[in-house]
Amino acid sequence: MEMAYYPGCTLKTNAKLFEESAMKAFSLIGIEMKELDKWYCCGTVYSLAKDNLMYRLASIRNLIRAQEEGFDKLITLCSVCYNTLSQANIMARNDKEAMEKINSFMDEEPDYEGSVDVLHPLQILKEKMWEIKERVKKPLNRKYAAYYGCLLLRPAEVSVDDYENPGIMEELIEALGGEAVNFPLKNECCGSYNVVANREAVIEANYRIVTNARKNGADAIVTSCPLCYFNLKDMQKEVKKAYSSFIELPVHYFTELMVEAFGVK
């Protein structure tokens, strides 16, 4: 199953590990990701100003690239890119007036027909759990807290799973021979972009989330978002300074777990 792959800027810089592990793991279960020949920053945040169409251009242009290369499915690993592209796609399919304007503005491009589905790999893995189980060579044998954050779940129209109580990542952890612990803060916000302007908010969120995961018996946290990964993992040093009782916990991308359980180097 070959699909268009949209990396996003972070996957080429801070989150190379995420891309590398995904490429390795997915090819073993028959998902081939073909990187788009050309792609552009998704815009990072889906602007809630409905009439500012300038902020839709990047997403729609990416979808046109996928359409042009003949793909009807586009997958992206980063939760932020997934959210932005998905919401733009919904707009493209429903808001004719906006699309008329966007298509006429981008008069150097073919019109976007709305023919590309934006998918997150977790949605595809859900249908491949038996293949995943068969592939496992080294069962994980550890306890994990599956952390979803916000962008994979909200708004409801783009949610990769039940937006109140998702379970795909837990299912994946179990399929890989690990144990998914009960984790009430799995969809709590990590603080997101506050890491730039209001670090204290992220430090506080990190303390709550990581401590909650540990108290529920987790040996590590699993995530799918490079920003959550940064806020939950890299910020732990600063959390430790702010809360002397804080105990650190490893954080992994779900694809790292797959690579480990599949026994790939």
């Binding site: 810089t13 552009y40 920053c41 815009g43 251009l57 990047a58 503005f105």
Partner: protein, 234 residues
């Protein structure tokens, strides 16, 4: 009889002979360039020009020395593009994936509108190289911008106020310094120069008569495209 076309220079109508370049047409109309003209061969990027055509909503950008006038053109020259250039010592900075965005943080404001690409008289994929710069790909930025002549039209059209050509120049300098193989023949030649290998010859040439110099120039050996010496040894 010579066919004439109507053009408008800063709003004023002139009749000029068909087939002239915009630059020649303006000179025909009586303008004299003291800025905004250079090589007149499409290489130096000094003669950025903006025009519209009657009955066409598009705003066109080009080089005045490379574009032929058409009937009903509304023209203006842009002799200079104000754009801030970052100050750096190329020997001290590192070519990592944050270098370009650190020196030019405004590239993160790009919304992929593609206006820069449409404005480029060199037909470069300007937006694509800014996007490459944003994701830290110095090599791609350098490659995609290789033919940039720094006319500045991209920077003047950009709604995100990016100075694309300066970003690209930094990328190419980083690429040249940190990624390209060293030109060994250049180092060798520099050493020869420092040792005065050509001093005597230069003194002789300086004393030559102009006629003899011209003769010598016209009968000189032209270097082959690529000799063994210019290739990087493995």
């Amino acid at each position: 009889m010579m066919k004439m076309v109507r053009i408008y220079i800063m709003g004023k109508e002139y009749k000029v002979p068909e087939g002239l370049t915009i630059m020649k047409a303006m000179e025909y109309a009586g303008y004299r360039f003291i800025r905004g003209a250079g090589c007149r061969a499409g290489f130096c990027g000094a003669c950025a020009t903006v025009y519209r055509k009657e009955g066409d909503y598009k705003l066109y950008t080009d080089l005045a020395c490379q574009t032929t006038v058409e009937d009903g053109m509304y023209l203006v020259q842009l002799p200079f593009a104000p754009a801030n250039k970052a100050v750096y010592d190329i020997k001290k900075i590192k070519p990592d994936d944050k270098t370009l965005v650190n020196f030019y943080p405004e590239i993160a404001r790009c919304v992929s509108c593609n206006t820069c690409t449409k404005a480029c008289p060199q037909e470069l994929e300007v937006m694509d190289y800014i996007q490459s710069a944003l994701r830290g790909d110095v090599k791609k930025t350098a490659e995609l911008s290789f033919d940039c002549i720094q006319c500045g039209l991209c920077a003047l059209r950009c709604p995100a106020e990016i100075a694309h050509y300066h970003v690209a120049q930094l990328a190419r300098r980083l690429y040249g310094r940190y990624f390209m193989p060293r030109a060994l023949h250049l180092e060798k030649r520099l050493k020869e120069l420092e040792k005065g290998k050509f001093d005597k010859e230069m003194e002789r040439i300086k004393k030559m008569k102009l006629e003899d110099l011209k003769k010598m120039y016209n009968s000189r050996d032209i270097e082959p495209e690529e000799s063994e010496e210019t290739r990087e040894s493995d």
